[in-house]
């Protein structure tokens, strides 16, 4: 039965909104899954350097969250995603992708093994219908909990120092993709060493009623560590530097694509390391095994492009001279301030796009109204553009 209060017509506010509003100088907001989310609060360039140089705080409450519990939760997840969830013990987090029967990616996300048999799945898009369909025949309960959990990303080299100031005992031992529970003012605070920036960083999960208190305590603790709230623009730049995928950029959710061939498999997205053919049956297994035998159609590439003109929406070519037959296109591009590199993610026709390949991108850029274009050499690289040692260091240094 519905509750009869009329639906809220405007944008929703997260539990941190009152704090963000105070720090907001530029009033640049967009909607993220119905919530107001800041593009930038002060200056996105400065915000970006908070990620790479100090402590950046990003409100990720609108991220879609599901709680998965019940005796079959492991079997359920193991059929849902391509990697072996049996290896993810309580207190660990897994980055995972899930596919349809055709082995096409529906979405990627993180799965938190909160306690024995209790998981949180966190993703960009909403998937309740798919998660329910996947639950037919399993004894699991899936609860949508996006609005029930307030979440912050606390990222950057001084993020550990900031959180350490708050007195979270044992945080130093938390390895990447680990999670721990702490007490915060008598309530449970979950901290995971995860993030979307490719840097040292944590994510904090708490009930909405304690959100503002947590924010205040965090900013107090980070005062001397350069703590700063950030918006999406800065985060997006760090995401590309880290080589992470974004839905609707590097891939479309397979169940929402209309045209044939517009979806991507994990193999095509360079996520073969996430596909475990040795574990029991999972969605997409047959199709992916077939794809592995016969070869993929597409290949995701990380490109290091010569020059400094950002390759937004560029076509990718195999050769410099022939700009007739494009073999692909750029999906995300940026100038990396920290790497001083012109970087991009793109998709090209396999088997092109192996690490070390040289490709060409046609770059379009505007200078004082006039548009220019030129062919730029692009090297396919294997590793993320930005992967500092501090990202993996346990215990993290004080930086």
């Amino acid at each position: 039965m519905s509750n009869q209060a009329p639906v809220h017509q405007g944008r929703l506010k997260t539990p941190f909104y009152s704090r963000l509003e105070k720090l907001d100088f530029v009033n640049e907001w967009h909607q993220w899954k119905g919530y107001s989310s800041a593009d930038s609060l002060y200056c996105s360039d400065t915000e970006y350097f908070a990620i790479r140089n100090a402590t950046a705080v990003f409100d990720l409450t609108p991220m879609t969250k599901y709680r998965i519990t019940g005796p079959d939760s492991l079997d359920y997840l193991n059929r849902l995603v391509t990697r072996d969830m049996a290896k993810i013990k309580p207190g660990r987090v897994a980055y995972a992708v899930w596919c349809d029967d055709q082995g096409q990616v529906i979405d990627d996300g993180t799965i938190f093994h909160i306690r024995e048999g209790e998981y949180r799945l966190c993703s960009q898009e909403r998937h309740f219908a798919w998660l329910q369909a996947a639950a037919i025949g399993f004894d699991v309960t899936i609860t949508h909990e996006t609005g029930d959990v307030a979440a912050l990303a606390v990222q950057g080299p001084t993020s550990f120092s900031t959180l350490n100031n708050m007195g979270f005992e044992g945080l130093a031992d938390l390895k990447p993709f680990g999670l721990k529970h702490f007490d915060f003012q008598g309530r449970e605070l979950m901290i995971s060493r995860t993030g979307f920036t490719g840097d040292l960083g944590y994510e904090l999960w708490i009930e909405p009623a304690k959100a503002e208190a947590l924010w205040d305590a965090l900013f107090e603790a980070g005062k001397l560590h350069g703590i700063r709230a950030i918006g999406t623009t800065a985060l997006e730049l760090s995401r590309i530097e880290a080589g992470f995928l974004a839905a609707y950029m590097e891939f479309l959710p397979a169940d929402e694509t209309v045209r044939t061939g517009r979806s991507r498999s994990p193999l095509e997205l360079g996520l073969e390391w996430l596909v475990d053919f040795k574990k029991p049956n999972f969605n997409g297994r047959r199709a992916l095994a077939e794809e592995k035998r016969h070869g993929s159609t597409w290949q995701l590439v990380k490109l290091d492009i010569e020059g400094n003109k950002v390759a937004h929406s560029s076509y990718i070519f195999g050769q410099e001279k022939s700009n007739k037959a494009a073999i692909g296109f750029v999906t995300s591009a940026a100038w990396s301030p920290v790497c001083k590199q012109n970087i991009a993610l793109g998709t090209v026709r396999a088997p092109r796009g192996k690490p070390g390949d040289t490709l060409w991108v046609e770059v379009y850029y505007q200078r004082e109204m006039h548009w220019n274009r030129h062919m730029a050499k692009a090297r396919v690289v294997d590793k993320p553009f930005w992967f500092p040692p501090r990202r993996g260091a346990t215990p993290p240094g004080p930086y």
Partner: protein, 538 residues
Amino acid sequence: MKTYDAIVVGAGHNGLTNAAFLARAGLDVVCVEKNDYIGGAAVSRNLYKDWWYSNCSYVCSLLRPEIYRALELHRHGLQITPYGGSVQFMENGDYYGSYHDEEVAYREMARFSRHDADAYKRYSADTMRQCRFIRDFLLSTAPDPSSFKPKDLRELARIGGKFMEMGEDRMYDTIRFWTMSVAEYLDEYFETDVIKAAMSGSGIIGTALGIHSPGTAYVLLHHYMGEVDGNVGSWGFARGGMGAVSNAIAGAFKAAGGELRTEAGVDQIIVKNGKAVGVALDNGDEIHANVVVSAMDVKRTFLDCIAKGDLPSEFHHRVENFKIRGSSGKVNIALDGLPTFPALPEGSSLYHSDMHFIDSMERMERAYDDWKDGRWSEDPYIDMLIPTLTDPTMAPPGKHFMSCFVQYCPHKIEGRDWTIAEKDAFGQTVINQIANYSPDFKDLILHAEIRTPQDIEAEIGITEGNIFHGELTMDQLLFNRPIPGYAQYRSPIGGLYMCGSSTHPGGGVMAAPGANAAREILSDLKRPNTVPENFGDD
């Protein structure tokens, strides 16, 4: 006496479109219309004081943008304003609204079911895939699968290619989509009764089938495949009412040198030596032409206007059995002010939307059971709109026009003609259902025009007042429409063509049949084609 190149019979939107494209190819064309106004079922009528009623078709989406552009309808006064959303009033006092804003729409759906809110994206993608598939064939002639002509084989191969391109699983989905019922189609996505009820209406509008009848999922497309400015599935109001559409097309026709004659009903199409040579009007006049194009429905064309002896008997038999059923009526109401719907918050955007008063699949289907027994639905499915909220030109300031499309409403009551009392009772059924949700509504009524299928038939000329000129069932679609073997706008009589909604791709104010027929006629006459091509990939 003058011999025209072509006579188009019936100045509905398809007849006018056909006439306009023929005239643009340099043909000398006259379009004749029985009524003293043009537009057929796409009209704005002044039936009460200063109110203008879109008294038949009432909203616009299907009108092919290629035709809109080619005929430069904006220059002839046409302007389409999109409107959004719909609301389903519920017996328990709640309502389910659908909103233009994606997130608000999502939240509203999630208020009933989180599952359904998330399932909607897959539903949209799957349905859009079917729209894209069919949209590609709207501006082309359906191939004859039993023919070996290169043109048919080429078009069959094109359809086959488009079909194959979908990939194995989606091909199967397509087969299922074209054959299943809208209720079962929706069951595969949604769990909430009121949400399914809200969506199922599009599967039965204008159709003598219930939501559980196989084949109704396809009918959804006739309400989803349209667009306003590239927003596929959007609907809009023609400023000034649906007559603006017909007037604009007529403007394009006249600008191309065409001649329009109203109050010129056709009594007979004159056939000599197996060839159509002109028409004899009701007043006894004759007009001669090399080509006669009928925009009337197939039954009216061949059973009323052509001597049985001039037709092959099998064809005649087929036409007799062509299914064209009165299943919907219309109630048009002039209002002294805006009625309130207390369930809605004040100023809700849903006042501008399609309003419905049935909240369950069972009620939808039961409405159909009444019709099968030859009665109007006691608890009908009403698609109600107040166009004056978007287009104030249709009523005096502060006053309103309300359009109610009503289903089901039979052509005959238990096999006999409607009585005046029954017609009133039918209108009262509609008014009462709305009044259940709007206590001040009845007091605001200044004038109501009640139209049963019989009235629509008598005035517009469409057999049984069927809005699509023939049921949209598989046996009457594509190469089966209207008659297998005669699905390419030609008839068994030389020089006689069909261009109405009885032909592919069927009804709705789409203008595609008129345009497609023009292309075939021009090709037969070896004239340059003036009909635009599909815009493609959308």
